[in-house]
Amino acid sequence: MNNLIAAIVFIALAPVLGGLVYGVERKVRARMQNRMGPSILQPFFDFMKLLDKRPMMVHSTHAFLGIMHFVAIWFALAVLVLGGDMLVVIFLHLLATALLVVAGYSVRSVFSHLGSTRQALSALAYEPVLLAIAIGFFMVTGSFNTSAVMNSAQPLIVKLPLAFVALLMILPIKLKKSPFDVADAHQEVVGGAEIEFSGVFFEALYTARWVEYMFGYSLVALFAGANIWLGIGMATVVFFVVNAVDNSTARLNYKDMLKISLGIALPLALLNLVFLVL
């Protein structure tokens, strides 16, 4: 019962927690670059500022799809935390991405379209790896439900070390971090799929990214099994690794991204599955 309440509180607070993570991230990155960095609450100040802007949009369909992107990604996180079927979780997450992609295509802007195409390509790059990881969970616990993973006494990373490495490799794509941030490379596509959102409508995408953070790091924590503190510890370590990599690498183009995720990360995850059977 306590677990359930904790889960519900976690889900309800996910956007806020994600905002904090983002604040810490900006601070950490700044320190890595020898800057002071903004306050940890800066994302929330930005949030308030966006609310003050004059509401503008291209058309309602576009704005609505953006809002639903936020709803869908929150929903995916809820199913993940409440112990739902991992395949359903991955699919919901794909749907959330799809809503953003379709939103990007729904306006007649070159940059929006380019961004959408890149966003879809990113999904194409990491989705198969996620599914391979889900199959790994299934082969270890005998169930696709994340509740089975969260009840497993032995941390899954022991059985799935290579799959964990694969997750580390695709996490920058999901979180849009260098070297795999082609989807919203602002120097190239002026913000990508998000370009035509502004003010209160951009708010939805802005907070959706915070929820995405929680989603990504929850996936990492799943590898710890029942041990929640180990999970938080792993997520923290991964957080620093991802940001260190983000700070120290330049952006690759999308072909290299596909090659690395489908050519290295996916085979790694599958190799792990083969080891499980042998």
Binding site: H59, F64, L92, V102, V107, S109, I135, E196
Partner: protein, 627 residues
């Protein structure tokens, strides 16, 4: 019961004969009536039919008539070869004649008393698909062909061939005798040859000839299967007997050859070009070939022999061949702009998936395959009919033109989006099929065949991701527009251009809402008939259990309806009191480049063909190995 089954064959043939001479209005009325009658009959057969297969014998003369038909058809092929100077067709026809003579010779020694007909649950399932979907296509075709620029007599011929085709299909799924199966297999080849050739230009003739010789190769494989079966310990050419004896005899070559024939019909690499070429035909033909007839022979035939090949080395080769075909077809679709071409690639990919699941052959796999056969049939039919509407009403052929559609054709764009959604998203049946496939292969990977299963899983995941990517691009193009249009102008079109797709869409919605009863009452009995037993499947309230994995239909539906619903609603949501702005284009000219040319793998095509050919060779070679 036998008379009902025979009427499914005879009625379309008689109507086809009448259609050749009937005046326009009478002909059109007749088509509608026949479509209704056939649908009703197939439903009655399914409802009344028991779980036991039934067979009935025919007078001896019928065998002779069938043989005469065989010879006539092969002579016609020779004629075609001379007329179009196609030596390939000629050689294959000659080869078929020689092999047929060999078969007659071999049968003479072992006169068989067995009944040529065998109608079981699988046949009834196919009757439903063939008659309901093809009936709707035929009704649609009456309007479509009216606007074709050809003589009145040719229009009559067109409808007559369509009807005849339906009869042949019904016949094909109810025979048990391989020699008859050969005749009907080539009968569908002949019908599609005529239909693809219909427009008569060079390209049509060339593509029709290609379809002909490739499918003739399938015919050769079936005749080979008969010869090997008769001259081995089997000594029979009844499919049901062969399947029964497979375990004890252990000689798999006949099955390998039947599988080759099936996979050629199913347009797997390197034989995919015949189906891609078929799109030059009038659009109802594509709808017919892709959804309910012709290519569906592939999963049907593999399901027939599934109990014999499941778990053998033969099935591993088929699984890998199909996994390869799935990925290649999905890759091929990425760089296309022609709407029908995109649909054709997705058909080939999904056929590969159906055949893959049929070859796995466990109970859940068979159910998954049946899901895909049924729902893909309906969805693909809807999409092709809409392709026809695009041609006839809007004169569009390319997906780049689709972005104007949102403004001028809200109904059509809704149907297209719905069709694509029903092909890829839950809670529609096609998704359930894929989902089951992945779960099942994951289990197989644990039990015993890790490498084959894992490779197949990877193929399904990669292929599905690519196809989903493509479908979303199409949907994105459909809703793309600049600024609000407060009052969409609805397009005007003929009632059957709107009505037939509407019926198909309603069928899809019905199948989604009633997924649990549908599975329990229609899919499960069929799977039980194919597999022999049904132990894994059970229904628990609103959840369906497949072995240890549970498909919680209602919760899943609730969650997953999100996308279709949102995409639909988003067309009607209006935010008031918000200023509208133009897009930021940074002085770049707006131009939507639809195809991902970066993903053109056409230059790899020769390699794909080579690998595909090697797979087919391997299939035959593995058939030679002992069980």
């Amino acid at each position: 019961m036998s008379s009902l089954v025979l009427s499914l064959i005879a009625v379309p043939w008689i109507v086809a004969a009448v259609l050749l001479f009937a005046p326009k209005m009478l002909g059109r009325g007749l088509v509608v009536l026949t479509a209704l009658a056939l649908s009703v009959i197939s439903v009655v057969i399914f409802v009344q039919g028991g779980s036991q297969p039934f067979s009935f014998s025919v007078p001896h003369q019928v065998h002779q008539i069938m043989l005469a038909a065989d010879v006539l058809m092969l002579l016609y092929f020779v004629g075609v070869a001379f007329k179009y100077r196609s030596w390939l067709v000629g050689i294959l026809a000659g080869l078929q004649m020689g092999m047929l003579a060999g078969v007659i010779n071999a049968v003479g020694e072992k006169a068989s008393e067995a009944s040529p007909f065998l109608v079981d649950r699988l046949s009834m399932f196919m009757f439903l698909l063939v008659n309901v979907v093809s009936g709707l296509i035929a009704i649609y075709a009456t309007k479509y062909i009216e606007e074709e620029d050809v003589r009145e007599q040719r229009k009559r011929n067109f409808l007559a061939i369509l009807m005849w085709f339906v009869g042949v299909m019904n016949f094909l799924v109810s025979v048990d005798n391989l020699e008859w199966f050969f005749l009907l297999f080539e009968g569908t080849t002949l019908a599609s040859f005529w239909l693809i050739r219909f427009r008569g230009d060079d390209l049509s003739v060339r593509n029709a000839l290609r379809a002909l010789w490739m499918n003739q190769l399938g015919g050769v494989a079936i005749l080979g299967a008969i010869l090997f079966a008769l001259n081995s310990n089997y000594g029979t050419m009844q499919i049901s007997e062969l399947v029964k004896q497979a375990g004890s005899v252990g000689f798999m070559l006949p099955f390998a050859l039947i599988a080759v024939a099936a996979l050629i019909k199913g347009a797997q690499m390197p034989f995919s070009s015949w189906l891609l070429g078929a799109m030059v035909a009038p659009t109802p033909v594509s709808a017919l070939l892709h959804s309910s007839t012709m290519v569906k022979i592939a999963p049907y035939t593999l399901l027939r022999i599934a109990p014999a090949i499941a778990g053998t080395k033969l099935s591993y080769v088929i699984i890998l061949l199909c996994a390869f075909g799935f990925v290649v077809a999905a890759l091929g679709s990425l760089a296309r702009t022609n709407f029908k071409e995109i649909l054709a690639h997705s058909t080939i990919a999904l056929l590969a998936l159906m055949c893959l699941l049929a070859a796995v052959g466990t109970e859940t796999a068979i159910m998954a395959a049946l899901f895909l056969v049924l729902f893909h049939g309906v969805s693909k039919c809807l999409l092709f009919l809409e392709a026809g509407v695009l041609e006839r009403v809007f004169h569009f052929k390319h997906t780049t033109q689709l972005q104007k559609l949102g403004d001028v054709g809200p109904k059509t764009s809704f149907f297209i989006a719905f069709g694509f959604i029903s092909l890829m998203l839950p809670p529609f049946g096609a998704f359930v099929g894929k989902w089951l496939g992945v779960e099942l292969l994951a289990k197989n990977a644990q039990i015993g065949t890790p490498v084959v299963s894992l490779l197949a899983i990877v193929a399904i995941l990669l292929g599905s991701a690519m196809l989903t990517f493509l479908y979303f691009k199409v949907i994105g193009a459909l809703i793309s527009r600049s600024g609000e249009h407060e009052k969409p102008v609805s397009e005007k079109m003929a009632p059957c251009f709107f009505g037939v797709p509407l019926i198909l869409a309603l069928l899809l919605v019905g199948g989604m809402v009633g997924l649990v009863p549908l599975t329990n009452n229609y899919i499960a009995p069929v799977a039980a008939a194919v597999h022999g037993t049904l132990k894994e499947f059970s229904v628990d309230g609103f959840a369906m259990m497949f072995g240890s994995s549970q498909l919680a239909v209602w919760p899943m539906m609730g969650a997953m309806l999100l996308f279709p619903l949102v995409a639909f609603l988003s067309q009607f949501v209006r935010f008031r009191g918000v200023d509208r702005v133009k897009e930021y284009n940074c002085t770049e000219r707006y131009e939507q480049d639809f195809a991902s040319y970066y993903f053109s793998f056409d230059k790899l095509n020769p390699w794909f063909i080579l690998v595909g050919t090697l797979f087919f060779v391997a299939l035959v070679l593995v058939g030679r190995l002992p069980l």
